[in-house]
């Protein structure tokens, strides 16, 4: 199992230590390098230089509103888990594409569950993203998932195809994006996620090959292991 590098963004030293302690406990041997920073700028610097798989982010850093920086965090390849006192902001945070929302004060078990979700070993929360954030140079662009028609894997990145034909490159892998996508999207292949209401028909070919024909004219292959689920959806 590959080790996970974690970036903890928290302005209170004792709380940051607690997050680190419980992350290490949850990951065990899987824990890689864990860095702690107390501000947004330091976090962005770390994300650009370090190879982090997970960011544990406090939403209130020295009086700053965390939502102003959330898109910058979620546009990175790393998954973001919020660790915050503001439980009422959870739904809004999920809209921005965070993987989980841990409310303070927290116990070891809650951090362990968040880590399980990160590792894909536990169901993710029912709240899903409504937006995806893309880095465009120094600018962050937010796109509503209503505009997205399909997502294609591109090595460790993902190509997000919009309804108007534009293609945007996201830093997250297709696997990480799949964990954030709402229920009207389906991962039909290890490299393809399609929007279900954008599918026109399912076509089958000799050799047990199957493709979804989208309304935009795009064609998306369907894994043999998933063809049963796909057929059930379209029947």
């Amino acid at each position: 199992m590959s080790r996970v590098n974690i970036l903890i963004v928290e302005d209170e030293p004792i709380v940051a230590r607690r997050v680190e302690r419980h992350c290490r406990a949850a990951l065990g041997e899987g824990a890689g390098r864990i860095e702690r920073v107390d501000g947004v700028e330091a976090a962005v610097d770390q994300l650009q230089t370090g190879d982090f798989g997970l960011v544990m982010l406090d939403l209130n850093l020295h009086g700053e509103d965390g939502f102003s920086i959330l898109d910058r965090m979620t546009s990175h390849s790393a998954h973001t888990i919020i660790v915050s006192a503001y439980a009422d902001q959870a739904a809004r945070a999920f809209d921005h594409g965070v993987l989980d929302f841990v409310t303070k004060p927290f116990e070891a078990e809650r951090i362990a569950l968040a880590i399980e979700r990160f590792r894909g070993k536990a169901e993710t929360r029912s709240e899903k993203a409504r937006y995806l954030s893309f880095r465009n140079g120094r600018r962050i662009e937010r796109v509503s998932l209503d505009e997205v028609s399909l997502v294609r894997g591109a090595d460790k990145y993902a190509e997000v195809v919009l309804g108007d034909g534009r293609v945007k490159l996201h830093d997250k892998s297709i696997g990480k994006l799949a964990a954030l996508m709402p229920d009207n999207f389906m991962r039909v292949h290890k490299s393809w996620i399609v929007r279900l209401d954008g599918v026109e028909r399912l076509e089958s070919f000799p050799g047990n090959r199957h493709e979804l024909i989208l309304k935009t004219g795009e064609r998306a292959p369907v894994s043999r292991s998933l063809i049963g689920q796909v057929r059930a959806l379209f029947q």
């Binding site: 302005d11 209170e12 439980a87």
Partner: protein, 559 residues
């Protein structure tokens, strides 16, 4: 209608009887060719066909008469079935119709016979008062009038039934107006005693009392018919009542419109009074009517002057001034209609003001409640309380002794806070205790050394609760004090205008200095200062070198 009346306005208080008597003559100017007078006494002066060419017109009435004098008036009498002569005077008199004595009041000419004048109805035999021209002659004893007073005489001739109806109508109207004024008087007095003690309420009480006196005692000389009330006292009473109404109405309007320059408006009001006493070339109004007409104009001028600053009240007062003006011009003879309107309008205005004041008080109470809630909310806000609990959990699992210290410090802060939640002002000692407990708790949380140094603070002085605590809390949450040794300083300096407090905090890694001077903390401080010292405070915050300095000045504190 012949009408000789002594204007009471400002009698004795400002000008004096002699001038007033001259003014009295002026009020009857239109009748001066029909009414003549002569000092002295001659039984023959009652004769119908007397040659009065050497008598003087009322325009030349020269002042108080100490002895007997006569007044003769020529009448063009209509045909009346049951004629009734109504006479009001403060002197002893006899009255003759075409040379025949028909009645009188008191015994003119006899020494020591001071008269108690009253409205006298004298029935005139219809046979004597045939349709056509007649002469009424009055033999009046000026010496019977109270010292310092001057004689007045007023008479009307009409059908007995008509006079009786008019009397009943007048009495009913006076009674109703007096009742209204009485109700408003007790309402205003009640509000003053049990509610808000505003000077305007006392003014309304005075105004209503003056109006009641006028309503009940002025008409037809009722004041002079009150037993045990000497004529001189009656004149003073009515004069004071008129004066009270005039000055209090002007003062109330001035205060209600929140006009400045009280001396200027007082001088204008005084000038109006003087002008009211001068003979006017038009209208034939009595001087008290003239005075109240000028008062209505003055109120209109006040309204216009306050138009831009009091956009709600000024139009109401301008409209009321116009209504009162119209009442005087239309019902000039019956001044009590104007007075009733004036009393009603001012009193209604006051009652509206009291109601609005109550609403304002409730809003202030609500604001105070909101501020209490804000103080609590700021200290149980998720970021503060949940982070504190997370720290407590972590310390409890890793360092039990540190956990105990932390929980103790947190409890201490909440205890200080709880003791001042419902206060609108606390001593600096209490405020500093809260600040120190907050610093102690945050020092443990941030693993830092946080110190507050104070200088020049008078610990018994008062300030709004949570004032400096909020500023310190802001400084900690917007700076990176974790792991640092930080000293904050609070100084107080009293000067002639009040006390100035300076809180100096080091800026360490703040995202933007401006963030320290904005947000809910600043709004809380401003709201608390306004509650503590309405309109007498200032709050500024700005960077100063390496520090962020908050400057609070509270006028009238610590002078």
């Amino acid at each position: 209608m012949p009408n000789i009346i002594m204007p009471r306005f400002l009698l004795l208080l400002v000008l004096g009887p002699a001038i007033l008597l001259a003014a009295a003559g002026a009020t009857a100017q239109s009748d001066e060719t029909l009414i003549v007078w002569q000092a002295g006494d001659d039984p023959g002066w009652s004769a119908a066909d007397l040659d009065t060419s050497d008598w003087q017109s009322l325009a030349h009435y020269s002042g108080a008469q100490d002895g007997l004098f006569w007044i003769r008036a020529r009448l063009g009498a209509p045909a009346l079935d049951s004629p009734l002569l109504s006479i009001r005077s403060n002197a002893a008199y006899e009255v003759f119709l075409d040379g025949r004595a028909i009645g009188g009041s008191g015994r003119p000419g006899e020494p020591g016979d001071a008269q108690r004048p009253e409205l006298t109805h004298i029935g005139v035999p219809a046979s004597l008062l045939t349709e056509g021209r007649h002469v009424l002659a009055f033999r009046i004893d000026g010496a019977s009038v109270a010292d310092g007073d001057a004689a007045f005489l007023r008479f009307e001739l009409d059908e007995a039934a008509t006079v009786a109806r008019a009397d009943r109508r007048r009495d009913a109207m006076d009674g109703a107006a007096a009742l209204l004024a009485g109700f408003l008087l007790f309402t205003a007095a009640g509000i003053w005693i049990w509610g808000t003690r505003r000077i305007e309420l006392i003014m309304v009480v005075g105004l209503c009392a003056g109006a009641i006196v006028i309503f009940l005692l002025d008409t037809d000389g009722r004041a002079f018919a009150v037993p045990l009330l000497p004529p001189f006292a009656a004149v003073i009473l009515l004069t004071l009542a008129s004066m009270a109404i005039y000055t209090l109405a002007a003062a109330i309007i001035h205060r209600r419109l929140m006009l400045g320059r009280p001396r200027l408006w007082a001088v204008l009001a005084g000038l109006c009074l003087v002008v009211a006493l001068l003979p006017w070339p038009f209208g034939g109004m009595e001087s008290d009517q003239q005075a109240f007409l000028l008062l209505a104009l003055l109120a209109g001028a006040m309204s216009l002057s306050a138009w831009s600053r009091r956009p709600r009240q000024a139009p109401i007062y301008a409209a009321a001034s116009l209504i009162c003006l119209a009442a005087i011009l239309v019902f000039g003879e019956q001044l009590r209609i104007f007075l009733a309107l004036l009393v009603a309008l001012i009193s209604v205005s006051m009652i509206v003001d009291v109601v609005l004041g109550e609403i304002k008080i409730r809003r202030a109470e609500l604001r105070a409640s909101r501020l209490q809630a804000a103080l609590v909310k700021r200290n149980i806000q998720p970021h503060f309380i949940m982070n504190s609990l997370t720290v407590a959990l972590e310390l409890q699992e890793t360092d039990a002794a540190a956990a105990r210290d932390f929980i103790r410090a947190l409890s201490e802060e909440f205890r200080s806070l709880a003791s001042m939640i419902e206060q609108t002002r606390v001593t600096l000692r209490e405020e500093l205790a809260l600040c120190h407990s907050h610093l102690k708790m945050m020092a443990l949380r941030l693993e830092a050394q946080l110190t507050l140094e104070t200088e020049g603070l008078e610990e018994t002085a008062e300030c709004p609760p949570g004032l400096f605590h909020t500023l310190i809390e802001n400084a900690i949450s917007h700076n990176r004090y974790d792991g640092q040794r930080v000293t904050l300083s609070l100084t107080a300096k009293a000067n002639g205008s009040g006390t100035t407090y300076l809180l100096r905090v080091p800026v360490l890694g703040a995202r933007a200095a401006s963030a320290l001077g904005s947000g809910s903390g600043t709004r809380y401080i401003e709201a608390r200062l306004e509650e503590f010292a309405p309109g007498r405070w200032s709050f500024e915050a700005a960077p100063d070198g390496e520090d962020w300095v908050s400057r609070i000045h509270i006028a009238g504190v610590g002078e």
